[in-house]
């Protein structure tokens, strides 16, 4: 591991540790309202200032980081796993199966998934707790997002299947499982990692967008998504530049993930 990768790993671990120990580190609970200090500037009481309801931004950022850092990658993992299963099934099955998979992916890509989220929110029992609502949202996001990676994997497996060296391995009588494990999986793994990295910020930002429709992480639970919603209003950014903190953290985490992924790709 190079020095930069070490730094990235340490930073990621530090951010994750801080997020997971939010109840200990955060000065206040994420929903505590200091009603006499709305939009308070950063200071000793509120390190990153307070939001419009007088809630400490720093505490909310810590709790929100835990939610986003755990659930966005989890949703991305669901998408990748689903995409891999579907792509491999299509590639290894008969011709009809491959066509079916291709059709399913095309249909999934063209579906307006936002309506599925609307139906989900409308059909969830109204007294569903914020935690369950949160998990349901990210789970659906994970399922809804399989089609993009599945298309990439399908195309990749097709080109792999038709490659000369694979034909050579098959002609030499190599066990198909061994071919898949030794030759196929490393190829797919680097692709999967790249797709995984792409999906994490997509899901974090999608969750912010869904929040506008009342489908994201329900208030008062914080997440990077609903914290980033403040950035939609240019006036808020100008008068309270510290609302950019969640964006800064998101960028930092993405850069760290990128560096680590590069290292893994090199090793692979």
């Amino acid at each position: 591991m190079r020095r930069l990768q070490w730094i990235a790993a340490v930073l990621l671990l530090a951010i994750l540790a801080a997020a997971l120990t939010a109840p200990l580190l955060a000065p206040y609970h994420y929903d505590r309202q200091f009603r006499d200090a709305p939009d308070a500037p950063p200071g000793a009481q509120f390190p990153l200032g307070a939001d419009s309801l007088g809630r400490d931004r720093f505490s909310r950022l810590l709790y929100g980081t835990a939610i986003s850092l755990l659930l966005a990658p989890a949703a991305a993992l669901v998408s990748i796993a689903l995409a891999l299963v579907i792509a491999v099934a299509g590639a290894l099955g008969r011709r009809g199966m491959e066509n079916t998979v291709s059709g399913v992916i095309t249909i999934a890509l063209s579906l307006p998934w936002i309506f599925l989220f609307l139906i989900l929110r409308a059909e969830l029992p109204l007294n569903t707790g914020p935690a369950l609502s949160l998990v349901a949202t990210f789970a659906l996001m994970g399922v809804a997002g399989f089609a993009g990676p599945a298309r990439v994997f399908t195309a990749s497996i097709r080109s792999l299947r038709e490659s000369g060296w694979l034909l050579q391995a098959r002609a030499a009588g190599t066990d198909p499982l061994r071919i898949a494990w030794v030759h196929g999986w490393p190829w797919l793994r680097s692709l999967a990692l790249a797709q995984f990295r792409v999906l994490i910020p997509v899901y974090i930002l999608s969750e912010a967008g869904l929040g506008l429709l009342g489908l994201g992480v329900p208030e008062p639970l914080p997440s990077w998504g609903n914290l980033l919603q403040e950035l939609q209003h240019p006036g808020v950014v100008r008068s309270n530049p510290w609302v950019l903190a969640p964006l800064g953290l998101l960028v930092l985490v993405m850069v760290c993930l990128e560096m680590l992924a590069d290292e893994r790709a090199v090793q692979a």
């Binding site: 929903d31 309202q33 009603r35 709305p38 419009s52 309801l53 007088g54 609307l118 929110r121 409308a122 109204l126 007294n127 569903t128 707790g129 914020p130 506008l212 429709l213 009342g214 489908l215 329900p218 208030e219 008062p220 939609q232 209003h233 240019p234 006036g235 808020v236 008068s239």
Partner: protein, 527 residues
């Protein structure tokens, strides 16, 4: 630079450069037919272009003659007679006579037209008779007295015989260009009858460009760039920003006619457990919830100080109809707990339980995307937590919300607002009559569920049929008092009416009644 700007300004005045008023609205007008204007964007165009017989002066509240030179209400409020001004013309030059008025009103009342304006003129005893006695005289006669008969004609824009795609109008402007999703251009009606005291023809601006702009943030940016001259309705955040960047341009008219409120579902539906229905139907429970809510905080934090605690169904901005004896309820969580204790509830370890031991927890639905309302919900959540009540906030897409509160009735409580467009309480009648489809807490009742609802029904019918304004006011005062006493709807706030006007726009006489700053558009001038 200043010298060049001054020179350009002087040159433009000297050359008589067109004076165009520019503002934005959030959506396309669905129609330019004044009889089918239903949603706010079509209504805005209708208001700016339509010629009406009488106009309610938004500043004084008095009815003033427009196309009608004079009018008279006779037969105890059953008949209204108009005399038109001589020589009236539509924007295309065709004459406007009593035949046009008769045809317009007949069209509005024709069930095949399904005109929303027609409802205003209908009566339980049948449609009125419309008769033109001469080219300048018209009489409209009802079987029974019709309350505020003259005021109804404020919304009836007289339409020409031939309804083109962009129809001729008799108001200050007419539509000359429309590009869907982009803009509507209005130009001054060369045949408009009104003159200023110096005999100059009105309106004073040559044209109006209404840009279609859904995003309020972009509308605000364009206003700050001086690309737009008016923002007809500002959000609280926008108000603060305009104040910072263009001091003096952001203005508040104080409390608007609108109100924000919450209510509980009291309808006997399967989705609502019997014990929750018992809570929601308890006046003491509703009062306790109302007492626990810090309305001052809602106004200060959710609306950034641009709202006032509400005291009842009618806003104080509605000066005539508001019951001035009613005052906003100050928060008192201790009193709330006492009321709950008297109703069999117990507060232990931070949790409120009913007499059967059920923890008091319910969902509160509201529409997503409304920032002040979402903030209100979060503040209410914490306020109620202080008396041991747990609420789950569920922001829903507007269509899904309406489906629940109006059709399936599958909800427990709701937080919404009511944007009043008329001052007359007839507009809210459907909310208060127990058989009404919008009787929020229990719609479409076959018979009134409670004695006080029966009393409200009687008072509403009385006020809707009496031609005596004072008697109507007395009935409405009692309706408001009952509403506050029983609190089937817990009124929270009256948001302020906020708007922004570029410094060069003069002649404004803003009003709380729509179209708030543009109601006297013919008198607006650009300097």
């Amino acid at each position: 630079v200043k010298a060049i700007a001054l020179a350009v300004a002087v040159a433009s005045v000297m050359s008589g450069a067109p004076r165009e008023l520019r503002f934005a609205m959030a959506g396309d007008p669905r129609t330019f037919d004044p009889l089918h204007a239903e949603e706010s964007h079509s209504e805005m165009v209708r208001y700016l272009t339509g010629g009406v017989l009488l106009r309610v002066n938004r500043a004084t509240g008095k009815v003033e003659p427009e196309l009608a030179e004079s009018y008279q209400i006779t037969e105890g409020g059953r008949t209204i007679q108009f005399r038109l001004r001589a020589g009236l013309k539509f924007s295309d030059g065709s004459p406007l006579t009593s035949a046009d008025v008769t045809r317009t009103l007949t069209r509005a009342l024709d069930p095949k037209e399904a005109s929303p304006i027609g409802d205003t003129f209908r009566s339980a005893e049948g449609d009125p008779m419309v008769r033109a006695a001469s080219p300048l005289e018209i009489a409209v006669r009802y079987r029974l007295p019709k309350p505020d008969l003259d005021r109804l004609f404020d919304s009836l824009a007289i339409a020409p015989a031939a309804m083109a795609k962009l129809p001729a109008t008799a108001g200050p402007f007419h539509v000359t260009e429309y590009r869907a999703g982009q803009y509507v251009r209005l130009e001054r009606n060369p045949n408009y009858w009104k003159r200023d005291p110096n005999g100059r023809p009105l309106p004073l601006v040559d044209s109006i460009r209404i840009d279609i702009q859904q995003n309020h943030d972009i509308e605000l940016e364009r206003f700050l760039r001086r690309d737009l001259q008016v923002i007809n309705k500002l959000e609280p955040e926008g108000f603060d920003r305009v104040q910072q960047q263009m001091p003096g341009a952001a203005k508040s008219l104080g409390a608007s006619l609108d109100s924000e409120f919450l209510w509980f579902n009291e309808a006997p539906v399967k989705s609502l457990p019997e014990w929750k229905l018992r809570w929601f139907r308890s006046t003491a429970f509703r009062h306790a919830v109302s007492l626990a809510i810090q309305r001052d905080d809602l106004a200060r934090l959710a609306y950034r100080g641009h709202a006032h605690p509400a005291s009842g169904p009618i806003s104080p901005a509605n000066r005539f109809w508001f019951n001035a004896a009613l005052k906003p309820l100050p928060a008192n969580p201790q009193r709330a707990l006492q009321l709950l204790a008297g109703d069999g509830f117990s507060f232990q370890s931070g949790v409120l339980r009913d007499r059967d031991g059920h923890a008091v927890e319910f969902s509160l639905i509201t529409n997503s995307g409304n920032r002040p309302r979402e903030r209100m919900a979060q503040l209410i959540q914490q306020d109620l937590a202080r008396i041991g009540v747990k609420i789950n906030i569920v922001p829903l897409e507007f269509g899904a919300l309406i489906e629940r509160i109006a059709k399936t009735l599958d909800y427990e409580s709701a937080l919404l607002g009511f944007a009043n467009v008329e001052e007359d309480p007839v507009e809210q009648m459907n909310v208060w009559i127990s058989s009404g489809a919008q009787h929020a807490w229990w719609p479409r009742q076959k018979t009134p569920a409670t004695a006080w609802e029966a009393r409200i029904d009687a008072l509403e019918k009385q006020q809707a049929s009496s031609p005596d304004r004072a008697a109507r006011k007395k009935a409405m005062d009692e309706v408001q008092a009952i509403a506050v006493e029983q609190e089937p709807i817990i009124y929270l706030l009256n948001p302020d009416y906020l708007y922004a006007v570029a410094p060069g726009l003069k002649g404004l006489q803003p009003s709380a009644a729509p179209p708030q700053i543009l109601w006297n558009v013919e008198w607006l001038r650009l300097e």
